[in-house]
C-alpha cells in the first residue's frame, strides 16, 4: 500500500469538500474493491475520503411505487430486507449472490455502481429496473449512468446518495458465474414494469453493462422463455478470455435470459 492522506468526513458536504480539495482522491465506502487494489499497490490515490461511517446513507425505504436505497446500504441489508423481498425479490436475490459473506457485509450499493466493474451485478439491476441514481448534484437515469468499463457519468466531486428502484411487475436475475472469480461472466436481468420490458446484460460486454434490445423486442411481443430462447446475440463487442470466447458468452446470454424469464414467471 502506498501512502495517502486519510479523511473521515462526518457529513456528505464535508466529503464533497474533501474530494474537491485533493489532487487525486478516491472515495472509500465498503472497500471491497479499493482496499485489495491498494494492498496490491495497483492504485496510488493522494487522498482517501472514507464515507463508510456515514450511517445516514444506510437505509431502505419502501415509498409509493418504488424502493429507495441509501448508497451506503450493504448488500446483506438488501438481501435481508423484508421490503425488498416483498416488492422486488429479484433485487434481494441478486444482492444475496454478490461475492461472499464478507463482501456482502462490507460492500455497498453506491460503491458497486460507482466502480462499475463490468462483471458486477448491481449495474445489471440498475439498468434492468430503470433505476434513478440520486447524487449530491442531480438525478441520473440508469441509462445515462453507466458509460463504459469502470466509467460512469459521475463527476470528480459528485457522490451517490441513493438509488430509487421502481417496483417491477416481474423480474429476475440469472448469473453465470466465472468459475474462478465468481463474478458474473454473464448476468442477465429481465423485468417487466411501468417502463415496459428491460433486458440488461452484465459481465459479458467489453464496455460493461448493456441492454439487449432484440430480446426486449421479442419479449414485448411475447413474454415467455421461448421468445428469448430463439434470440441469438452477436458476439461482437463481447469479451474473450481464458474463461470463454465471445461466442460462448453470446450463447450464455440467451441461456441466462431464457432462465431469467422462466424464473420471473
Amino acid at each position: 500500500m502506498y501512502q495517502f492522506n486519510y479523511h473521515r468526513p462526518k457529513t456528505l458536504d464535508e466529503a464533497v469538500k474533501a474530494l474537491a480539495g485533493a489532487d487525486d482522491p478516491k472515495l472509500l465506502a465498503g472497500g471491497q474493491t479499493l482496499i485489495p487494489t491498494l494492498k496490491q499497490r495497483l492504485a496510488m490515490p493522494s487522498d482517501l475520503v472514507d464515507i463508510g461511517s456515514l450511517t445516514d446513507l444506510r437505509y431502505i425505504k419502501a415509498e409509493g411505487d418504488a424502493l429507495t436505497i441509501g448508497a451506503g446500504t450493504k448488500h446483506a441489508d438488501v438481501a435481508a430486507s423484508a421490503d425488498v423481498m416483498t416488492h422486488n425479490p429479484a433485487l434481494a436475490r441478486l444482492a444475496d449472490n454478490i461475492g461472499d459473506p464478507a463482501v456482502r457485509h462490507m460492500g455497498t450499493l453506491g460503491g458497486s455502481i460507482a466502480n462499475n466493474d463490468p462483471a458486477a451485478d448491481y449495474p445489471g439491476a440498475c439498468l434492468g429496473l430503470d433505476a434513478k441514481i440520486h447524487t449530491t448534484k442531480r438525478l441520473i437515469e440508469a441509462d445515462e449512468f453507466f458509460t463504459g468499463m469502470f466509467e460512469t457519468a459521475l463527476e470528480d466531486d459528485e457522490i451517490i446518495k441513493e438509488v430509487t428502484f421502481p417496483h417491477p411487475e416481474k423480474a429476475a436475475y440469472m448469473k453465470f458465474a466465472n468459475p474462478a472469480s465468481r463474478y458474473a461472466m454473464v448476468g442477465v436481468f429481465v423485468s417487466k414494469g411501468p417502463w415496459g420490458i428491460r433486458v440488461a446484460v452484465t459481465g459479458a460486454g467489453q464496455d460493461g453493462v448493456f441492454r439487449a434490445s432484440e430480446m426486449e423486442a421479442a419479449l414485448e411481443k411475447n413474454w415467455s422463455p421461448d421468445a428469448v430462447a430463439n434470440v441469438k446475440i452477436s458476439p461482437d463487442g463481447l469479451n474473450t478470455d481464458m474463461h470463454g470466447s465471445a461466442e460462448y458468452r453470446a450463447h450464455l446470454i440467451t441461456v441466462m435470459a431464457k432462465r431469467a424469464v422462466e424464473a420471473a414467471g
Binding site: 499497490r41 453465470f176 474462478a180 463474478y183 481464458m242 460462448y248
Partner: protein
Amino acid sequence: MTAEISETGIGKPARRKEDFRFITGNGHYTDDINRPHQTHASFLRSPHAHARIRSIDISDAEKAEGVLAVFTGQDIARDELGGLICGWTVTSKDGEPMKVGPHPVLALDTVRYVGDHVAMVVAETREQAEAAAELIDVDYDALPAAVSLASCQNGDAPQVHPEAPRNTCFEWELGNKAETEAAFSKAARIVSLDLENNRLIPNAMEPRAAIGEFDKGTGDYTLWTTSQNPHVARLVLSAFVGVAPEHKLRVIAPDVGGGFGSKIFIYSEETACAWASAKVGRPIKWTGNRSEAFLSDAHGRDHLSKAELALDADGKMLGLRVKTVANLGAYLSTFSAAVPTYLYGTLLSGQYDLPAIHVEVDGVYTHTAPVDAYRGAGRPEATYLIERIAETAAREIGMDPAEFRRKNFVREFPHQTPVIMNYDIGNYEASLDAALEAIDYKGFPARRAEAESRGKLRGIGFSTYIEACGLAPSAAVGSLGAGVGLWESAEVRVNPTGNIDVLTGSHSHGQGHETTFAQLVSSRLGVPLDDVEIVHGDTDKVQFGMGTYGSRSGAVGMSAISRALDKIEAKAKKIAAHLMEAAVEDIVFENGTFTVQGTDKSMAWAELSLAAYTAHGFAGSDLEPGLKEGAFYDPTNFTFPAGCHICEVEIDPDTGVTKIANFVAVDDFGTIINPMIVEGQVHGGIAQGVGQALLEHGVYDPESGQLVTGSYMDYCMPRADDLPSFRLGFTTTECPSNPLGMKGCGEAGAIASPPAIINAVTDALNIREIAMPATPARVWAALQARQPRAAAE
C-alpha cells in the same frame, strides 16, 4: 487408562492433537515469529519473461527511508555463493548427463521468467522495503521468450540456457524398446491418444516465508523457513550454496501451512535471507504474498504426451509406447528432473500386466516458473495417461471399461514391470469390485436415462490406479541419479517420568503426524496418547531426516520409529530382567507392564523408566543408564498403494457446466493408523484432482510470457460447492516390505481422480478427448464441435 489407549490405538480415529492450536490461532508459523531487531526484505522481480540486464541502478533505493541494504546478483557472486541446485541427475539416452543452466540466487545478467529474482531490499519495515524496491532502476533489454511447450524445441525458438540447445535438458528413455516395437507389429489394434497434463500452481494456504539470523558472537546462522524438509534445506544451503558450514547453520521449519510439494524445494528467498542476515547484522524476515506465490512457487505437471496402446484381438494389452515433452520451466528446481522421469515412466504399467513398455521423455526449458513435484509428482501424469488410454481402448473395442481392466490386471505378485518397479502385493479386482458395488454400476443406465429426461448428459468414468510411495530404497534411487538417500530417521527418548519424546526426520505440514506417530508409540508402549510428544522440523533437535513428500512419512518415517521402538523395548526388557532377577527371555511386555512369565513379578512402564535413569540397580550388569534409542530405516522397496476411483458426472448442455454427481474411491493403503486422518487425506487429494480435471490451469501468455492466472480472479481453486460428498472405501493388502504394513495415502486422491473425472466427461459427451481442465467453455465448445450448429437448432 487402558480403555483410553484402546480408543487411540492403531486403526482408531483419534482426534488430531495438533488441531487445538491450529483452530484456536495458537499455531506458530514462520510469519508469527518475530526476532529482536528484525528487519524486512522485499524482492524485486522480473517483469519480463526473458531479458538481458544491461544495468541495475540501486542508488535511489539505497537512499530511501528505512533502507538498510540493497543486494543484487553481483553481491552474491562477489561472495562466491553457489547457485541453487537440482538434486537428481538424469542421463539422456545417448549417455550424456542432463544439460543444466546455472540458477543464481539473484539474477546476474539475464532474467528467465516473470517473477525471476533481480534484487533484494532490506529495510526497517516491509512497506519501506517494498517502496524502495520500486526505486531500483533496471535497464532491461527485453528478448523474445520460449513459452509454448509445443514449440520450445523448435530450431528457431528463443533459448533459455546456452548450455541446452533446443531448450532440451535431457532426452530420457525407459523400458524395453525392441520388445515394444515387436508388440506393436503383431497388434490386432493400436489405440492412440494425444494428451495434455495441465500446469498447476500449488497454492498452499500459507505462503512461503523465511527469517534469517546471524549470531556475530558464535558465527551461527539460524533460518526459520516454510520447509517440508529442513535437513535437506540445510544440506543444500551448506554443501552446495555455501551460506554456512552445516554445523553452523540451524534450519527450523515450525508449523507449516500446507506444502503439496512446493515447500520441498530450496528457493532464492530463504537463501538470500540467511546469507544477507550476516551482511546486515540483523535478522531479516520475508513473507511472500499471494501474488509472489503464483509467480515464483514451483509449479506442477505440464506435460504433452502421445500415447499408443497395442492390443491383441481379445483386448489383452500387448505394449505401450509413450512420447512425452515435460516442462521444467526456466531453471531446474530441487527435484524437478526426477519428477517427469523416475516418478513418471516407472508407473506407466498401471495395474496391468503389460509385457512391453517404452517411454521417451524430453525435459525442456521454457521461460516460465520452475516446475517440480506437486502432490503426486509424476504419478498423476502417468496415471492420467494409462487410465485415459485404457478407457479409450475399451470404448473403441466395445468392451465394458471395468471388464477391460479386469482382463488386463496383474494378478500374481511379486510382479516385475518392464519399467523398473516390482509390485510386491495388491488385489486390484477387490477394489474394483468394491467400487462397482458402491457406485451401483448396474444402475447406471437407468440413472443416465433419468438424467436425459431432464436434458442432462450423464457419464461414468473409471480409474484403476497404482502409485509408488515409501520413497525410497537409497541404493535404488542412487543408481538412478539421486544425490541423496531416501531413508528416514527416528529417535525415541523415554523420560525418567515415563513420558516420551519422539524425534522424527519426517515433517508435518497438515498430515497429522503429531497424532498418528503418537498413536503408534502409545499403542506399542502402553502409554496414553498425551504422554507422547512428536518433535520435528528443527535441525538442532533432530539429527537428520529426509522430510515429508511422496507419501513417505507413514511407510518410511513410522517404520524408523517402529525400529527405534524395537530397540527401546529390547533394552527395557533387559533392565526389567535385571531388576526382577529374571532371564530376558522370560520378560513379557504388554499393555505397558513388564512381567516375568509364569510369576506374579511385574513392573509398570513408569517404574521402569525411572529405574532406567536412577540406575541404582544396575550394579554388576553391562547396562548403560538411560532409555533412548535411534534408528535409521532404509526401505527395501517402494510401496504400491492402489485402488479404484469411479466418477459420475452430469453435464448441462446449455451451459457446459459439469457437476460431479457421484464419486467413489476404494483404496488399498495397507495398514491404516488413523482412518479419520486417512479419509481427510483422500478428500483433500480428490479435491485437488477435481481442481486439475475441471478447474485449475496455470496459463502464460504465449507471446509475452506474462502469467495470465496470477490471482484467484483467473486461477480457479476448488471450492466446497464444486465438490460432491465423496464415498470412500478401503480394501487392504498389507505391505510386506515394511514393519507396519503401510503403503501411504497422501497423494492417492490427486493421482487417481483426474482420469476418472475426464473419462466420465468424455463418456457423457460421447467424445474421445477433452483437455483438462474441462471448463464449461471447453465442454460447450466440444458439444458445438460434436453437433453441427444446424443440427442443434
